[in-house]
């Protein structure tokens, strides 16, 4: 009777699980409604009417474009740095056993395990001690540091599943290290790297806590939003920007999921 594991869940459990999922998704759905409201002075619900006007208004805002451009630049460069560092680290840790291996894993995970504010203020005080002026590179320094871990996690999981004998076979057949990397290792870990890179991109594109400490007067898109949240001046534009941010981050997440779904289950671990 009970042994085939196909019995359906009790109603209360279904309801609790459904409500829980709804609790996680409805607030985000609400953003999409507010982006089209005609009300521009308050957060009135239900919206008195719907309009596409704010899309156009937002489109013509140079400050939003500047912030978006800076965010994209930072996220791209940080992702590239994080992919190189994370892959190197993962390759070293998973291929060989050496003294201090655990320490290296801890070192990689630490920037994300400690609250972001600690990373942020530590970097800021270091910049001021070393007299480094704020620039796009100070933002990137911070972002790349905590993005390494997502690439690392994805790459380590894939390296574990990739058999070491493939590499030996390649070398025995006369390929050198670089050819082996190019033709054997890279195709095997490629999708995991891509997934890690996408998550790193999403993480960097969205990051605000560390950025407030390392940006100075520059404004990335999250910083722009934070200012609007603290002192709302242009609610309709903020609504539209919020909607765009949701769309921009959702796509890489879904892509990363499809790239790693075959049993890795690593797409989200370690954020």
């Amino acid at each position: 009777m009970r042994s085939d594991g196909k019995q359906s869940a009790p109603f209360a459990l279904k309801a609790a699980a459904g409500l829980g999922l709804a609790f996680m998704h409805l607030p985000i759905a609400l953003i999409f409604v507010y982006a089209f409201t005609t009300e521009d002075k308050s957060y009135q619900w239900p919206p008195p009417g719907f309009t596409l006007k704010w899309l156009e208004v937002t489109w013509n805002r140079p400050d939003v474009w500047d912030a978006l451009k800076l965010s994209l630049q930072v996220a791209t460069i940080s992702t590239v740095i994080a992919m190189v560092l994370g892959t190197l680290c993962a390759a070293a840790v998973s291929r060989t056993k050496f003294f201090g291996r655990e320490t290296i894993s801890l070192l990689v995970i630490l920037p994300i395990a400690l609250p972001g504010i600690i990373t942020g203020i530590a970097l800021r005080s270091a910049f001021s001690i070393a007299d480094i002026p704020f620039s796009i590179w100070t933002i990137i320094l911070g972002h790349a540091t905590f993005c390494v871990v997502v690439v690392y996690n994805n790459a380590v999981a894939r390296f574990r599943r990739t058999s070491g004998s493939l590499v030996e076979a390649s070398m025995d057949l006369g390929a050198n290290s670089f050819q082996t990397f190019r033709h054997v290792i890279l195709p095997n870990i490629g999708t995991a790297l891509l997934a890690g890179g996408m998550l790193a991109f999403a993480l960097s594109f969205d990051e605000v806590i560390v950025t407030t400490f390392t940006a100075g007067q520059q404004s990335t898109l999250p910083i722009w939003m934070l200012e609007e949240l603290v002192r709302p001046r242009q609610r309709p534009v903020t609504n539209v920007v919020a909607m765009v941010v949701v769309l921009v981050t959702v796509l890489p997440i879904l892509a990363a999921y499809y790239l790693t779904r075959d049993g890795d289950q690593v797409a989200g671990s370690g954020k």
Binding site: P27, L88, F178, L229, G268
Partner: protein, 323 residues
């Protein structure tokens, strides 16, 4: 293996491949002969980056917590002292620490309660397409923009927002008003009350709880639950004596995230909540407007120490196997 033979027995040349040509070839031969060289080359960039940029700044920050600030000139005095740590125990600062830790504890307990049914359903009943749907259903909120999530709650909790409207439609406005009238957790509206802060924290960190709990529940064999039922346990007893103890490492693992993230957050209480400070806000204010870097640094040590103890306890409960 064959790795060492070309080097040690060059006399048998014909049976062995000659050294490879070109600089890539010779470099690759050196890697093969000396794996340590490759290892060092691979490890140097990430270790240098994290060691110098991250650990370097972290230690520089911690070092500053042992300096103090001159109360008259406002200048930092570079003499080692514990005076700044003493300031943490002033009533005002102690209040901030207690407030933050209690909030983190309440959020953690609530997150465990809300996350458990989702995780349990996903682990035990969801199959095939539903399983994927649940996975994405947790993953999307986890990875979608933190600020957008906070913003969504600002919309929800606003006095003229959807929650007030729902309560009005259900003729329950009196309930909302009674709740807001309660001292401490109430306030003028939900968006300036601790209740609001709590809801946003719960919402934002919930996915971090669901995933490890689900991972722990996936590992509970279904036969245990059937055996418990066959032996006459009611569902409640099965839950208390079989499922819950086995899921506990997962819950503790999730609580590491919810607890640590709440401790360090300074944006949520700033946007949704009363004007009383949390640790993160205190750090921000001390290093920014007040210019008191030593006190800010001492404040950051508080979450580090608390999390140190927390992780130590979690490790003893086997939480790390569940992450």
């Amino acid at each position: 293996m064959t790795a060492a033979s070309p080097v040690t027995e060059p006399a048998q040349g014909t049976a062995i491949l000659p050294g490879q040509g070109g600089w890539t070839g010779s470099l690759s031969d050196r890697f093969w002969r000396n794996p340590k060289l490759l290892l060092i080359l691979m490890l140097t960039p990430p270790v240098l980056w994290l060691g110098i940029i991250y650990l370097g700044s972290l230690f520089a920050l911690l070092a500053q917590s042992f300096f103090s600030i001159d109360e008259f000139s406002g200048m930092v005095q570079y003499e080692l002292t514990l005076k700044t740590y003493g300031e943490l125990f002033r009533p005002a600062n102690l209040d901030i620490i207690i407030r933050t830790v209690s909030m983190a504890a309440i959020v953690t307990v609530a997150a465990a309660c809300v996350a458990f049914p989702i995780a349990y359903f996903a682990a035990r009943y969801a199959r095939g397409k539903w399983k994927a749907l649940f996975y994405i259903g947790v993953m999307l909120p986890l990875w979608s923009s933190y600020l957008v999530k906070v913003y969504a709650w600002k919309l929800i909790l606003a006095k003229e927002g959807i929650l007030t409207w729902i309560f009005a439609k259900l003729h329950l406005t009196w309930l909302l008003e009674a709740w807001l009238a309660i001292p401490i957790i109430g306030g003028y509206s939900l968006s300036v009350s601790y209740t609001g802060t709590f809801l946003v924290f719960l919402y934002v960190w919930l996915p971090f709880m669901v995933l490890p709990v689900q991972a722990a529940l996936e590992r509970v064999p279904g036969s245990y639950i059937e055996a418990s039922g066959d032996l006459g346990a009611t569902p409640g007893q099965t839950f208390r004596h079989v499922i819950f103890p086995l899921a506990l490492p997962g819950i503790v693992a999730g609580s590491i995230f919810t607890f640590s993230l709440t401790l360090g957050d300074y944006i949520i209480p700033q946007i949704v909540g009363s004007s009383r400070l949390f640790i993160g806000q205190a750090v921000y204010a001390q290093q920014g407007t007040a210019g008191n870097i030593p006190l800010a640094a001492a404040f950051t040590v508080v979450p580090i120490v608390i999390m140190g103890f927390y992780l130590w306890g979690a490790k003893r409960m086997g939480a790390f196997d569940a992450i």
